[in-house]
């Protein structure tokens, strides 16, 4: 089927009342969680997973994708108006966005963030449409050694790109792999570390773990630090439609940001956040007036805001073409698809074209909806930020409890979530990140299965990973990514990004 036929099929899938409604709901909920600090898209998707049981797989994916890209829109609003980034992906927007608001230019900043996000979101979706099927076809010819190398490369990249010392991330990834061993062995089904618990037979669920680390852990940290609401921009917001000069200044940053975001987004780890920092750094480098960055110029908003939206499309590529989640949110998408008996991987696009093309078209539609939705609702989002955290956090905790319980109607999973909440909180306190743990937890069983299958094929020869070209390249890249973290220049850069993100 040609590309136009596929697009037509995508439209026929999405343009049903139910799917349009869930696309809208996802985008709206995403914007809401993007606005609210302390509740991110990962925790929201985890919480909504049980509700998607009863939906068709395509409707479920449309809803969850809407939350992911909607959060990128929402995060920018509070960055610009309140100097509180709703998401880590909007941290860099604070630098120029908030300064613009202080100078009475909140309207153009919000406007260009929304238009830039829309343009980049659309370009990102086109990229996804082109690259995912290509990579999917290429992935058909690879075997267990290559898959093992992909998981090793993915994990090393996640650890080398995470904030703080590399050893911390390596420990978290190893702990995640160990937790991934709990339950049935992926080859023989032999029970490991279950100690008679029925709940653990299928392994430690990603939802209780993700909600524990990112939901409960974050709330505990905010409760402790008594989150302030910052100074809220009070003046009336006017001129949301950027002027010709704003467009002229923002055009290339948006285009560059879209490309940077998309390609950086494909990489595993906190790639969406990294894309925004990369875009900002590049805009500063190519600018004729780099000294003005940080003083409230529109290029500093346009580039990163475009980058974070197109990066969302990029992060879908490893999942839909290789079956490998690039970040925590994608790991939850993997969970959502598997709940419906769908295994993402090289055959995903050919076996489930309705889901893939439905997702693509829903992202076009969702981006357009967000553009229309976001600008008139800015006043409501700002009022929401004013709700005291003391009232908000019990509600977030209640949502976490409902989300985890309704997964399997099992109280033990609430306890697992709470244990991982404490684990997540303590980790934050001593500078350990949760993302490598969760990615390793998801990739662990696949890594183990591919390692054992490869060793069976090669009759115990570890050289199989270094003699086949694709796996050799990936193993080499994995090694390079680890060695890079030992270089002083890279270390310094990581520390800087870590400080900025805080």
């Amino acid at each position: 089927m040609d590309i136009l036929g596929n697009i037509g099929m995508g439209f026929s899938v999405v343009l049903t009342p139910a799917n349009v409604f869930f696309c809208f709901l996802g985008a709206l909920l995403g914007t809401l969680v993007g606005v609210l600090p302390g509740l991110g898209p990962a925790a929201t998707i985890a919480f909504l997973l049980p509700i998607t049981y009863k939906m068709s797989p395509v409707t479920a994916i449309i809803l969850l994708a809407g939350i992911f890209y909607g959060a990128q829109y929402g995060g920018s609003t509070t960055s610009i108006l309140v100097n509180i980034p709703g998401e880590a992906t909007s941290v860099i927007t604070c630098l120029d966005g908030y300064k613009m608001a202080r100078q009475g230019r909140a309207g153009p900043a919000l406007g260009i963030a929304a238009f830039g996000s829309f343009i980049a979101g659309t370009l990102g979706v086109i990229g996804l449409m082109i690259f995912a099927p290509l990579l999917g076809r290429a992935a058909l010819s690879i075997g267990p050694p290559e898959y093992f190398a992909i998981t090793v490369f993915g994990l090393t990249l996640v650890t080398s790109l995470s904030r703080g010392p590399t050893i911390n991330a390596l420990i978290m990834a190893t702990l995640g792999l160990l937790a991934g061993c709990i339950g049935g062995d992926p080859v023989s089904g032999f029970q490991r570390f279950t100690y008679g618990s029925i709940t653990l037979i299928d392994g430690v669920g990603i939802v209780p773990v993700a909600m524990g680390i990112f939901g409960i852990g974050e709330v505990l940290e905010n409760v402790a630090s008594a989150l302030g609401t910052g100074e809220i921009y009070q003046a009336k917001i006017t001129g949301l439609l950027p002027k010709l000069k704003d467009w002229k200044d923002s055009f290339w940053p948006i285009i560059r940001g879209s490309f940077i975001g998309f390609f950086v987004g494909i990489l595993p780890g906190p790639s969406v956040t990294i894309a925004t920092f990369t875009s900002y750094a590049i805009e500063k480098k190519v600018s004729r007036h780099p000294e003005k960055f940080g003083t409230g110029i529109i290029e500093g908003v346009a580039g990163p805001e475009a980058a974070n939206n197109s990066a969302v499309s990029g992060t879908f590529i490893p999942l839909v073409s290789l079956g490998i989640p690039a970040n925590v949110t994608m790991a939850l998408f993997l969970g959502a698809l598997m709940i419906h008996g769908i295994q993402p991987g090289p055959l995903f696009i050919t076996q489930h074209p309705d889901i893939f093309w439905g997702l693509i078209i829903s992202m076009y539609l969702g981006n357009a909806m967000l553009l229309v939705l976001n600008l008139p609702l800015i006043g409501i989002w700002v009022r929401l930020v004013r709700v005291p955290y003391g009232i908000l956090f019990p509600l977030i905790l209640l949502l976490c409890v409902i989300g985890v319980y309704t997964l399997n109607n099992n109280v033990v999973e609430i306890l697992i979530m709470l244990i991982f909440g404490v684990f997540g909180y303590l980790n934050r306190k001593i500078g350990f990140e949760g993302a490598p743990f969760i990615i390793a937890l998801v990739l662990g069983p696949m890594m183990e299965k591919c390692l054992r299958q490869s060793l069976l094929i090669s009759r115990g020869d570890l050289g199989i990973f270094f003699t086949r070209p694709i796996s050799a390249i990936l193993m080499g890249l994995a090694l390079v990514s680890i060695i890079m973290t030992l270089l002083p220049a890279f270390k310094k850069r990581k520390e800087l990004i870590g400080e900025d993100a805080k």
């Binding site: 505990l220 019990p394 709470l418």
Partner: protein, 155 residues
């Protein structure tokens, strides 16, 4: 910070030893035919190595350079109160039922942790418990435990 990291590295070392002991109870196999214990054994060894590196790094860390991560006593109190409430609610969730559990969870956190006025506590707890029940239990038809009120709600 240094003390916390030292404690963490000790816990990690104990954990890696425990993982190795537990793995020794599983069939490990060999490179030609790896069994269920093969991968956990490799991971346990890796964790042990990383824990030792982390311990050495933590010991080398200068105390004066480290930033304090300790919470004030008031904040610890808030965290512990929040956790105790959550664990208690988890343990009695099915026995009490959703409506009572959610009311108690919200009410207690608002009163004891956020120190809200009593009418804010009662109204917010009542409304959030009822609205969330209507949304999840009735509209979205997710199964929430009836508990003590199961006679009224039929589940």
């Amino acid at each position: 910070m240094k003390k916390a990291r030292l404690i963490a590295s000790m816990i990690l070392l104990v954990l890696s030893c425990a993982a190795l002991i537990e793995t020794s109870k599983l069939p490990v196999g060999n490179l030609h035919s790896p069994q269920a214990g093969f991968f956990p054994l490799a991971i346990g060894i890796l964790l042990g190595i990383f824990s030792i590196i982390f311990l050495v790094q933590s010991m080398k860390e200068k105390t004066e350079e480290s930033r304090s991560v300790s919470e004030g006593p008031k904040n610890w109190q808030k965290i512990i109160l929040t956790l105790v409430t959550l664990f208690a609610i988890a343990l009695f969730f099915e026995r009490l039922g959703y409506l009572i559990s959610s009311f108690l969870l919200i009410g207690f956190l608002l009163a004891a942790v956020s120190k809200q006025k009593w009418w804010t506590v009662i109204t917010t707890a009542f409304l959030s418990s009822l609205i969330s029940y209507l949304l999840f239990g009735i509209v979205l038809k997710t199964q929430l435990p009836g508990g003590l009120l199961s006679g009224f709600f039929g589940n």
